[in-house]
Amino acid sequence: MGGDDSQPMVVAQRLRKVYRGATAVEALRGVDLEVRRGEMVAIVGPSGSGKTTLLNCLSGLDRFDGGRVVIDGADLTTMSDRDRTAYRARNMGFVFQAFNLLPVLTAVENTEIPLLLQGVPARAARRRAEEMLETLGLAQRARHRPDQLSGGEQQRVAVARALVHKPAVVWADEPTGNLDTEVTHVITELLVKTNREGQTIVLVTHNPQVSERASRVIRMRDGRIQEAARAGVEGAAT
């Protein structure tokens, strides 16, 4: 992380995304959004409202059909796929609903992937991954594969993988969607704690238990941002 604190971390302007099939579906209809450095933003809304599509476009996972996305001053719109990939590797972390750990790798091996991709020497990468797992209370589970971990543990490993390389933004798509209430609480508190330490987090969720812990809630409907909730929260919504 780093950069100018006065600059927003994420800027989306007139973002449009159309899924073309038998009938074209306009998933994002000109979304404008800013996320400030150190914010924890929850995007909520009914199914099909475009939450995940917005997250994918903001994070550079998906191409969009119109508008502009700038992350920490870098314009994703003008980047080639290759550059975007490299940018993601350096500056972004991801947490998914289904954990999406690689089933054949152990917890520590999953965690160290972003570091190895940046060329961090193997020993150093392993040490940092182990430290991260220890921070998240998973030191004893570092050598276990995903199928040997509980759902909560898997999601904590996913969080560790998202944070280990100190990204500018962490994107989380329904991070508690597969977890029970107790584990949801644990993961939510983990994200909140991380956010308090300065990590910018943008997450998509259906779960009020999660969204109410965010510094700002953005509600979506039919591909548009309907409102920015929570009193006193700064941000823009159209």
Partner: protein
């Protein structure tokens, strides 16, 4: 149809019948299975193609074996013509009036069409006009006045003759003999048979039809009157030929019915020593036996291809089970039982298997048409006989067996795999979450492991060499399974794999290919599969080392390859199946590369220092001083040219039957002490070659034989009765194409034509080819032939190479199957790993890294398969060539390298496309969840 065919076809019908019945009772599952197979598109095409290759292999193997047997049997009928029964005195001459008296016997009038006295000899023939000669020529003396019931000779110029219109001293020669001598009508020929000789004229060249097919090779047909010096002025014969009504099997049956009457008639003659032989039946029986080895080879190799194909289906099943886990979980949630799930998988794979087996039939027949003649030609060359053509024999029951085997083996294997894949946690499967760690089931595991071990023990007790290998393997697997809680996985698998490999090698070492054919080939087949399995276990258990190595080499490289390599190293079963498919096939290729490499000629050693081999049908070979001056050393081996009944249970060479030509090489005491030839295979009773020769000096019943397996018993007949020999070794190459024994071994064969063999070592600087030509030129009138060892060895090696090429062709089918496995795996990776690839892309993997990872994974998998197969093949090959063939270990590195390069190049080719497709997968699409 044989019991085996009934069993295979019956089992196939039963299995598919049950599946069809279940499909009718559970139409929903049947519809699902059909749709899954139909929707598979390219993947279904590739699977069916792989299974079709297996079907092609097994069809080709079985049909080529049938065709070889049919061709050889047909040739046996052709060779015997109308001669069904013979009366001989086991090589001794007897009075020609015997034939007249039998012909006049009224009791034989109904069952016998024709009777004629004849002469059946082997000797040498020289064309005095063309100055060419040939030895080992069959001399067929016939009574022209009684030839009609035996058919007319068909001449190449279109004429037909019964021999009664030939000019005085006129004889007929077969086309092969005419070609060997460059003989033309009118040429003067000199026939030599021991001390006797005769001069005759070529009256015509006969086609391989009717009586002219006798001997199927280099044969001279002479009316008895044209060779008075060989027949005591026409009064002496050594065979009476009898013809019965009917051809083929009907002729054999008629011959058998006539035997009592013929025996009674012969007994009534009062001539001692006469024996009645079912000549045609014996010839046909021996022909059928002689193809057993070829059948065993072809079937074994085909089954290896099927084994490789079975791994494809299991691999696919595991992949599909993982890929379809979510919808299968939904089905389970909706009420589908676990057995229903197994049925679904089995039915789908049954559809693939049946389609593959049926599609493979026609290409299999085409391949058999190509392979068959090569086998027939090579077999003829190895046994020193002429190849007389090949007929493709497509028997409906054989095609049915091929389809049944190909369709059934994979289904049975698949059912076992489906039992495994049907076990999953429904809730985890529906949400596409990792499978929770299994708990409990320990008692069941121990019970199943115990049952497996017990079954293995029973198989080991009951099943001979192959059973010992398989049974012990099952016991080890059972013990390994049972010990899951007590010993760490890596140590357990490493130990189990090592034990399995070691045991397979021990059994292979103690069961040389020279023992009973089918049993030995069964050991070989099971040995290859089990060795590869054992070695694969060891490698799979230790693949984590690859991970560590990559991480040490480069972090970035490690990052790129970490996930793909982990897929390979941490799914040992699936990796093992792919490496196993390659391993089995490459092990077989390697074994035969070792056999081929070990058959590379070492002329100096294998010829025992001799350069030229001279053969004569006369007891002495006298060289002029001019020729002697070019010779450094010479050894004379007295050689009896036996022609008579010959029985050897597993003979792969001699035509066998009632009239078989076998040279008997008699080594003197001095030669037995210092033998002029090297041995190839020897009985395991003997630690070295010297002990073989020592034993032969002491026991006249022991012989060395070129084309009969060691430890077999040979029976031959002298006028005083049968003589039995035990084969203790085979000579290097089939240059000595008969039996080699001591003077006492062959002392009863005085009546056989007395010929000689001269081994010549040229002086330094003398041209070997020139010396051979000079010897032949100087002595051609005596019917002497002279060839360099090099030329004879080359011909023999060419035949060996031809057989190895047949095996290689079948194995390449297996390789193609292995490559299809990788292709399918690559295609499925795009689907099955859609989300992990999406994760990696999200985390910053570039498309190039995705491609690199998938390609490296495939190459590494193939490389491990290659390593496993080549290692197992080298170990087995070493045992085969050193213990079975007693040859130095050598590898035909060219053949092996070409197979390896082909595999790696093709792996790259079949993987790159799917990998590119995977790399183009948009990360968001791959990760997309329901909003």
């Amino acid at each position: 149809m044989s019991a085996w065919s009934w069993f295979v076809i019956g089992t196939f019908l039963a299995v598919y019948g049950v599946l069809a019945l279940l499909a009718l009772r559970r139409p929903l599952l049947a519809r699902l299975a059909f749709r899954e197979a139909w929707r598979g598109g390219l993947q279904t095409g590739l699977v069916v193609a792989g299974l079709a290759l297996a079907g092609m292999g097994i069809t080709a193997g079985l049909v080529a074996a049938d065709s070889t047997e049919a061709s050889v049997t047909q040739n046996a009928y052709l060779s015997m013509g109308e001669v069904d029964v013979t009366v001989t005195a086991n090589g001794a001459l007897f009075d020609a009036s015997v034939a007249d008296r039998l012909a006049a016997d009224r009791n034989l009038a109904t069952g016998i069409d024709g009777v004629q006295g004849g002469l059946d000899l082997v000797g040498a023939v020289a064309d005095l006009d063309q100055r060419a000669s040939d030895t080992g020529v069959r001399l067929y003396g016939f009574d022209a006045s009684r030839q009609r019931p035996f058919g007319a000779f068909h001449l190449v110029d279109g004429r037909r003759t019964y021999g009664d219109d030939l000019p005085p001293a006129g004889v007929l020669v077969s086309r092969d003999l005419a070609d060997a001598l460059h003989a033309q009508a009118g040429d003067r020929l000199r026939i030599s048979a021991g001390a006797s000789s005769a001069e005759v004229l070529v009256a015509g060249v006969v086609k391989l039809e009717g009586p002219g097919a006798f001997g199927l090779g280099r044969t001279l047909f002479a009316p008895l009157g044209s060779i008075p010096s060989l027949t005591g002025a026409g009064n002496q014969i050594n065979v009476v030929r009898l013809s019965t009504p009917g051809d083929g099997l009907a002729g054999i049956a008629a011959g058998r019915r006539s035997l009592p009457a013929v025996r009674e008639a012969v007994a009534g003659l009062g001539v001692p020593g006469l024996e009645v032989n079912e000549a045609k039946a014996a010839q046909v029986r021996q022909a059928e036996r002689s193809t057993q080895s070829a059948r065993a080879t072809l079937v074994t190799m085909s089954l290896l291809v099927v084994a490789a194909a079975a791994t494809v289906v299991v691999h696919l099943t595991l992949m599909l089970a993982e890929e379809r886990r979510r919808r299968l979980g939904t089905l389970r949630a909706l009420g589908l039982s676990r057995s229903g799930l197994v049925f679904l998988s089995v039915l789908e794979s049954a559809l693939y298997s049946l389609a593959g087996a049926v599609v493979g039939v026609l290409p299999g027949l085409a391949l058999a048409r190509y392979l068959g003649p090569v086998v027939a030609e090579a077999g003829a060359a190895l046994s020193g006989s002429e190849s007389t053509g090949y007929q493709l024999a497509v028997r409906p029951e054989t095609v049915a067996v091929a389809v049944s085997l190909a369709a059934m083996l994979t289904v049975v294997t698949m059912a076992a795999a489906a039992l495994r894949t049907a076990r999953f946690a429904i809730s985890a499967a529906i949400r596409d979450l990792p499978e929770p760690a299994s708990t409990g089931g320990r008692r069941w595991r121990l019970l199943a492991a115990g049952l497996l071990a017990a079954a293995g023990f029973a198989i080991a007790l009951a099943g001979g060499g192959a059973g010992r290998v398989l049974g012990a393997t099952l016991m080890i697997v059972g013990a390994t399974w049972a010990g899951r809680r007590w010993i760490e996985d890596r140590a357990r698998y490493t130990l189990a794999g090592t034990l399995i490999l070691a045991w397979a090698l021990v059994v292979q070492a103690t069961t040389p290919l020279s023992s009973e054919d089918n049993a030995a080939f069964a050991v070989f087949f099971v040995g290859i599969v089990v060795s590869v399995f054992g070695l694969s276990l060891v490698v799979a258990a230790n693949l984590a080392l690859v991970d560590r190595f990559l991480a040490l080499v480069s972090p970035r490289l490690g990052a790129t390859l970490r996930a793909p390599v982990a897929y390979m190293t941490r799914r040992p079963l699936r990796t093992g199946l792919t490496t196993g498919a390659f391993g089995i096939v490459l092990a077989a290729i390697t074994v035969f590369a070792v056999v081929g490499g070990s058959y590379q000629p070492d002329y100096a050693r294998d010829s025992a220092g001799f350069d030229v081999i001279v053969r004569s049908a006369q007891p002495a070979i006298t060289l002029s001083p001019a020729l002697q001056a070019q010779i450094a050393r010479a050894e004379v081996i007295p050689t009896r040219l036996y022609l008579g009944r010959f029985l050897a249970p597993n003979s792969t060479g001699y035509a066998g039957g009632a009239s078989t030509y076998v040279p008997l090489y008699t080594l003197s005491e001095a030669q037995l002490a210092n033998p002029p030839l090297h041995l190839s295979t020897r009985s395991q009773r003997f630690p070295d070659d010297a002990s073989v020769w020592r034993a032969m000096r002491e026991d006249p019943g022991l012989v060395v034989a070129a084309t009969t397996h060691v430890d077999d018993t040979i029976t031959m007949w002298t006028p005083t009765g049968p003589v039995h020999f035990t084969v203790v070794a085979q000579p290097v190459y089939a240059i000595f194409n008969g039996l080699i024994g001591s003077p006492r071994s062959f002392s009863g064969f005085d009546l056989a034509v007395s010929g000689s063999t001269l081994l010549v070592a040229a002086r330094p600087g003398v041209d070997r080819e020139g010396l051979a030509r000079a010897i032949e030129s100087e002595l051609f009138e005596q019917g002497v032939t002279a060839h360099t060892f090099r030329s004879e060895v080359s011909g023999y090696l060419a035949a060996i190479k031809a057989i190895l090429a047949v095996i290689d062709t079948l194995m390449r089918l297996g390789l193609a199957i292995g490559l299809l496995t990788l292709g399918i795996a690559g295609l499925r990776a795009v689907v099955e790993r859609r989300r992990p690839i999406g994760v990696l892309r999200a985390l910053g993997f570039s498309p190039r890294r995705v491609v690199g990872g998938l390609v490296v994974e495939a190459i590494l998998t193939a490389a491990i398969g290659i390593a496993v197969g080549v290692t197992a093949g080298l170990l087995l090959g070493y045992l085969v060539v050193t213990s079975t063939y007693n040859r130095e270990f050598n590898v035909d590195s060219g053949a092996l390298a070409s197979a390896i390069v082909l595999v790696l190049a093709a792996t790259l080719a079949v993987t790159i496309g799917p990998a590119m497709r995977a790399s183009r997968l948009p990360a968001a699409d791959a990760l997309r969840l329901m909003d």
